[in-house]
Amino acid sequence: MSLLEVSGVTKRFGGLIALNGVDLAVGRGELVGVIGPNGAGKTTLVNVVTGVYYPESGRIIFDGHDITKTPPHRRARLGISRTYQVPRPFNNLNVLDNVALAAMYGSRRISVRGARELAMDLLGRVRLAERAQDYPESLSVVELRKLELARALAQGSKLVFLDEVSAGLVGDDLREVLSVVKDIHEGGVTMVMIEHVMKVIFNLTERIIVMMNGQKLAEGKPSEVASDARVVESYLGRRWSEI
């Protein structure tokens, strides 16, 4: 059975249909990519699965629990975590405690001391250990992304959503973050990567879902999706064929 099963989920904002009967299944240990242009409904999908919004219709089953109407904190306890497209660190806490806090809550719920020890280990894993005592306001974009990754890991989650973890990054910074993501996935964490550009996840995932106007346009292996006529025509367009 899949770890996450989203079936027929619809989410409206006033007259706008952000998600229109979306189905999505994620198996244990998978790394699934979700791509689509601005306004395709990618972030809304993350928000609906993590509980920031409740859908108007459809069902969300996670690890055997129906979580369609479950509040966010309880979903986190069940084992869902996420990163934000625009990083949202807790600015009153230093880097170490930002990560430790996630271990104190999330699905682990351990003591302050234990959480700090685990946080230090995780900061090492995302290569951010030397900034442990600094405050988030002094971090660069790539460091903030690593902080978000460490925080999501600290929750002890079964499923991590990465909302455009590559946004605003180029060159070495981008490679660095993607290699951290790869390490984490190879450590056995199930992941869904939301991305704007296919290039970023092409070599990381075995399966890509393409969204468009709140609906699933295509789904399959990266190579299949890239050559899917509908995808090329409506989303990737001429630019993709040139690359």
Binding site: D121, R127, D134
Partner: protein, 336 residues
């Protein structure tokens, strides 16, 4: 290899917390001893410092959870009235009334917190502010006057302790309130409150039940503010007046805001500094300068308002907060 670099680094544990707690205990003891030796008027001034420290801590606990209460006097006055009514109308032992009376504040806090946990930002301020005229109206209502003595106010029997002992009791309670804040701050819940204050949505997605915590914190804050109110009337004024509800005069609702924000509301030690500096100043302005000023009794409010603007422009985290943050970043820089 980067793993070992992380694991080898020593973890910072709050060892400095003990030093701070001892410093606060010493400071409270000095205020108590010096004022007692000085005379009975300084003893009364010291007593209001203790009362308003407990009261300001109750306000800053909420503020540090992202809830700005502009009607904290509701709980203060409820504690004062609960004590007064318990003692006068029901003949309850003053000691029992001093600690049981504030339970009324805790219950009110839970109720206000339950509603506030559904509100965000300034709506909490407006909601709490709107409750204080309601409290005042109840206190002066003719139906309740058999208990509250209406607009006249309740005159209370003396608390069965000498002046010096009453001050000692106030400072012990002030230290107890400080310890409660310290305990909250250094445990899991303290980190969660800080996160809720910062970004409630992000706090939710890492597993923090912010509505539960906000309601709970309002209950604790309600008890503390009510305890301050009960201390005020039991140990100091021996009188309960309807204007303790912070209506029509705002004073009782705004003093804890001034003391906390100027001293450094994120730190219980900062709140102490704010209270120690400003509460006697407020008393002095009221007794010495008010009669000559055009704004009369509100002169202290005017001066504190200006002072708040100046401090927050120069030091947004208050006096203590700015120093503490500066030291911390400097230590972090040196450690590298």
């Amino acid at each position: 290899m980067s793993m070992s670099a992380g694991a080898g680094k020593r973890l910072k544990l709050p060892g400095s917390t003990y030093i701070k707690a001892i410093a606060v205990a010493v400071a409270l003891a000095i205020i108590t001893a010096v004022s007692r030796m000085w005379g009975s008027y300084p003893t009364l001034i010291a007593m209001t410092i203790m009362v308003f420290y407990v009261y300001s801590l109750s306000w800053s606990l909420l503020a540090n959870t992202g809830m700005v209460s502009l009607g904290q006097a509701l709980f203060f006055a409820l504690g004062a009235y609960a004590y007064g009514i318990f003692v006068v109308s029901y003949g309850v032992n003053p000691w029992l009334a001093l600690f049981a009376g504030p339970a009324v504040g805790a219950l009110a806090g839970l109720a206000v917190g339950f509603v506030s946990s559904k509100l965000r930002d300034w709506y909490i301020g407006i909601f709490t502010f709107a409750l204080t005229p309601a409290g005042y109206a109840l206190a002066v209502s003719s139906q309740l006057s058999p208990w509250t003595a209406g607009a006249v106010g309740l005159t209370l029997p003396a608390f069965p302790l000498s002046l010096g002992a009453r001050l000692a009791l106030s400072s012990a309670l002030a230290f107890a309130a400080y310890l409660v804040i310290l305990l909250i701050k250094n445990r899991r819940i303290g980190f969660a409150l800080s996160a809720i204050n910062d970004d409630e949505t992000a706090a939710g997605t890492i597993g923090i039940n912010s509505r539960l915590y906000k309601t709970m914190i309002f209950g604790i804050s309600g008890y503390m503010a009510a305890l301050a109110g009960a201390m005020f009337v039991a140990l100091y004024t021996s009188y309960v007046a309807p204007d303790y509800f912070g209506y029509p005069d705002l004073e009782y609702s705004v003093w804890p805001v001034f003391y906390s924000m100027i001293g450094g509301m994120g730190y219980p030690e900062g709140v102490l500094i704010g209270t120690v500096l400003l509460d006697p100043l407020q008393n002095w302005i009221r007794s010495s300068l008010s009669s000559t000023s055009v704004v009369g009794g509100n002169l202290a409010l005017v001066i504190f308002g200006l002072l708040l603007i100046v401090v927050l422009l120069r030091a947004p985290k208050g006096i203590y907060g700015s120093v503490a943050r500066y030291m911390e970043t400097r230590r972090a820089r040196q450690a590298r």
